[in-house]
Every structure is written in C-alpha cells, then in structure tokens.
C-alpha cells in the first residue's frame, strides 16, 4: 500500500527532515509512528500527501509513484489519503455537516451524492445529532471526530493521523483511538503518529520509531520505547 525506498528529505538550509527511510506498509495495517519532537514524523506525513517532495528516493502509494507527481494530480492523491492533523482545521462559520460536506463539494461531487455520504460519515463518528452545530459548539474530541468524518468521505484507502490526540484529554483520546481502530476494521490502512505511550502500548500493533530523521526501529506488536 505504502512503500518508501531510500527516501530523504532535506529542507532549505540543510535541515534534515528524513534520512534514507525504507518502509513498506501493507494494506489494512494499523501502524503507529513514534519519536521525539522534531525528528521527522510530520515530514513523513507531508511526503505521503505530497505537501513536500522527497529530496531523493521513491514513494509509491497503491502502485502510484508519487515522488515527483504533477501538481495537477495532487488533488487525486489527497482524495485517496485521508489526513487528520493535531490542529483541527475546521471552518468556524460552517456547521459540522457543512464542514464534512465541504470536502465533497470542492471535489465536484454531485449534491445528491453528498446528501447520501455525509450522514453516513457522521454516523460512523457518532455525531449525527450534532450535525447542525458549529465547531465552537462541540468539544475538542468531537471536533477531531468531525475532521475524521471529513477525511472519510472520499472513502480513502489510507488514513494518516498526525498526533490527532495531541490536544485532547484522555477520555477524548481513547474515543479517537477507538474510532481509528474501527475505521481500520473496515479495511482502511491507518498510520497514527503519536507521542502517547499508553496508546501505543495498548494498541499492540506495529510501531515504527523515528529518531533524527532515521527509522531506528520497526517492530510488529511493538511498544513505545524511547
């Protein structure tokens, strides 16, 4: 599903993002990516959604080499990968429903399809009864669930969540993790970038540890070791 071959990313000013990373993530996997702050985790996420291009190496997603993808093709890539960031990135003047529908509207999906898909997505994240509220009228955990619902509407094969629980308390954190696990249960490949030791340890899934741009360990049913 996701394959990185000797991928390096150097930012202007010789700042190392990632160094010579080799990874293979199979369809349907649930992978946690851990590592200290500033070690290149977000860089990895940005490379996957082509917000940054690798300085060298090759990135292949679902058989598609995106290492030097044309900018006109990036939207297609983004519809195949759902992204969830720590800062919620919702539009404050749109309701929960409208925020989720927005992702479909701007991709040119027909209105009738939008009316069919959005309630399904809201149902998966358990926000059907809060569809008409504005982001500031729901909790942080609920806001993050809206973002997840939005990332689901294109039925992506991959969901990448970059510290989705970074701003949440533990109850909300577990709700989000449960949700991601459920989505993984549908067959969606999930990559979870996190700092949270308990989360990683309880998941008992594959753990990739990054340190200073290098993959230092990659263990099936791993633990948080740092």
């Amino acid at each position: 599903m996701i394959r990185l071959k000797n991928v390096s990313k150097t930012y202007p000013g010789n700042i190392v993002g990632l160094q010579n990373v080799n990874l293979h993530i199979r369809p349907g996997e649930f992978v946690s990516v851990v590592g200290q702050s500033g070690t290149g985790k977000t860089t990895l996420v940005k490379l996957l959604i082509s917000e940054e291009r690798p300085t060298s190496g090759q990135i292949v997603i679902g058989g598609w080499d995106i290492s030097s993808v044309r900018s006109s093709e990036v939207p297609l890539l983004r519809r195949q990968i759902g992204v969830v960031f720590q800062d919620f990135k919702l539009l404050p003047k749109k309701t929960v429903y409208e925020n989720v529908a927005f992702a479909l509207e701007v991709a040119g999906v027909r209105s009738s399809r939008i009316r069919a898909i959005v309630p399904q997505a809201l149902k998966i994240v358990g926000l059907t009864d809060k569809a008409d509220r504005f982001p500031r009228q729901v909790s942080g955990g609920e806001q993050q669930r809206v973002v997840i619902a939005r990332s689901l509407v294109h039925r992506p094969k991959i969901i990448v969540a970059d510290e989705p629980t970074g701003n949440l308390d533990s109850i909300n954190t577990w709700e989000i993790i449960d949700l991601l696990r459920r989505i993984n249960g549908f067959g969606t490949t999930v990559m979870l970038v996190t700092h949270n030791r308990e989360v990683v340890n309880s998941l008992q899934r594959r753990v990739i540890t990054i340190d200073r741009g290098l993959v230092v360990s990659d263990v099936e049913e791993g633990k948080y070791v740092l």
Partner: protein, 305 residues
C-alpha cells in the same frame, strides 16, 4: 438545493464578492472609471468628426461681381467653376437678392441698411456662392478666379481661412484624444493594481478555506474558479454601471451639444442606442480579458496552486 459543479463555483464566487464587499465596491468603481474614460475617448472621436463635418458644411466662398457685369458673364464664370472637380456647387445670387440678403443679415433699420437706403438704386452686383467638396478645394477656385479673364469682373472675393480653422479643430480634438488616452491608461493601470490586490486580499481572507480545500483534495480549478467568477462579477457590474451613468449624462449633454453644433447634427443618445451591443460587448470583453488575466496572474502568485 441541487447544485451542479460549476454552479457551486459560481456560488462561492458570489459569496467571495459579498464577503469583501467594500473591496469589491472599490474594484468596481475603478473599473467603472476606466470604462467611462474609454467611452469618453469613443465620444470624443465621434464629436470631433461631427464638428469637422459641421464646420466643413458651413464653409463657402462668395465672389461679388462688379455692378456692370451682366448676368450672362457671371453665368460663364459659374460654368467654368462647376467644371472644376473640386467644386461641389455654385449658387447664382442675382443683385436684388444679394441686397435682400444683406438686409436680412444686418437687420432692417440698422445703421448700415439705412445708409444703404440713401444711395440710389442697388449697389450690389451679382454674387456666386461656391461650395467645394472639402476645404482644400478652395485653392483651385481661387486659382481660377485669379486668371486675368475673370479677375477684371470681380469686385471682391470673400474667402475665409477655413483650412486653418479645420486643422485647428483637428488639432484640438487630437490633443483631447491623447489626453483621454492617457487618462484611460492611468485608470487602466490603477484598475490592474486594484484587481491584483483585491485577489490577494480575497486569497488572504480565504486562506483557511483554501488550505482545507488543498488538504481534502479540491480540484485546482475549484480553488481558482471562484476568483474568476468574482472577476467576472466585477466586469459585469462596471460595464453595467457605465451604461447606467452614460445614458443620463448623454441625454443631459445633448441639448447643449445641439445648440453648439446645430440641431440635428449630434445625437449621441441614439448613436449609443444603435451601437449599444457592439460598444458594450467590446468593452465588456476587453475588461473581462483584463480582469481575468490579472486574476490568473494574481492567483498564480498568491495561491501557488
């Protein structure tokens, strides 16, 4: 509410327009000024041409013959003049009518006319009134009349320097046109900058939306589309405003212009009414081209799509 894809882009564009309402208003105003000055240029051109034809149609030359020259001699001169290709028409005015015309021109009972009464009989000879096809033609007329065969018959020739008058008129309209062209260019340049800036502000107000659009895989043209729609709204409004401003102003100016040029000579309102579609269409196309190209440049620069 069932919206197809392009309708959605139009809706977004309209929303953008109202969200930055004052900026939109300023943009439309400057564009309107630009379009109005373009129209002033067009009008100047039309008026200049009218003025020249009006002046040219009023030009004539009079040749007063001596009293003792009889009608047949005068008519010979008339035929000679008519044979010149430059001459359009030659009117024969008999002495009685010349007197009458003099009276009419100076007013019955005026000093000049009264002094005329004191003289016995008619002091006027016959007169030929000559009209050439254009002002340069009078040189040939002059040349013919100066031949010794005719020169002795003539009491007085009344040639004004019409050529100089027309070229002065042309010079004035020419200068006005250059001035208006400069004004149009200035407004055009300001309009370009305003449009550029309006797009930048619009991008700035939508930066959150745009970053989310990118994140969720919006098509590039969906991100750019609303800006083009907005530019199109600016264009339509500015051309519409121009028409709304222009017609009443023309109707207002019409009586003054007609008094100046003579009634029936100028009808700018109907000139516009007749040429409305090509004029407005051409201007709308021009403004649309300008705003759309500017929007393309601005979005390429500020949007990095």
């Amino acid at each position: 509410m069932k919206l197809s894809f392009p309708m959605r882009i139009v809706r977004f564009g309209v929303q953008d327009f109202f969200r930055n309402f004052w900026l939109s208003a300023a943009t439309v105003s400057v564009l309107t000024l630009t379009v109005i000055s373009i129209n002033a240029l067009v009008l100047m051109n039309v008026l200049g041409k009218i003025a020249v034809t009006v002046v040219e149609s009023k030009i004539d030359a009079s040749v007063h013959f001596r009293q003792d020259v009889d009608e047949s001699r005068v008519k010979t001169v008339r035929v000679a003049l008519l044979s010149l290709p430059e001459v359009k028409e030659v009117e024969y005015v008999p002495p009685e009518e010349a007197l009458q015309r003099f009276r009419n021109a100076n007013g019955e009972g005026s000093e000049l006319v009264e002094s005329l009464e004191e003289i016995e009989g008619n002091p006027f000879g016959a007169t030929l009134v000559i009209r050439a096809h254009d002002t340069s033609g009078y040189a040939a007329v002059m040349h013919t009349l100066n031949q010794p065969l005719f020169a002795g018959l003539i009491e007085e020739k009344d040639f004004s320097d019409y050529d100089a008058m027309v070229s002065r008129l042309n010079a004035i309209t020419g200068k006005l046109e250059v001035f208006l062209l400069a004004v149009t260019c200035a407004f055009g340049a300001i309009a370009l900058m305003i449009v550029m800036n309006a797009v930048r502000v619009s991008v700035y107000t939508h930066r959150e939306e745009i970053s989310i659009m990118r994140l969720v895989g919006a098509s590039n043209w969906f991100i750019r589309g609303p800006f083009y729609v907005e530019a199109f709204i600016w264009t339509l409004l500015s051309v519409g405003m121009t028409v709304l401003i222009l017609f009443p102003s023309l109707a207002f100016a019409q009586p003054f212009l007609q008094r100046f040029f003579g009634s029936g000579s100028v009808d700018l309102v109907s000139f516009y009414a007749v040429n409305l579609l090509p004029l407005v269409g051409l201007q709308a196309a021009g403004v649309a081209f300008m705003t759309l190209v500017t929007t393309k440049l601005a979005t390429a620069r500020y949007l990095r799509v």
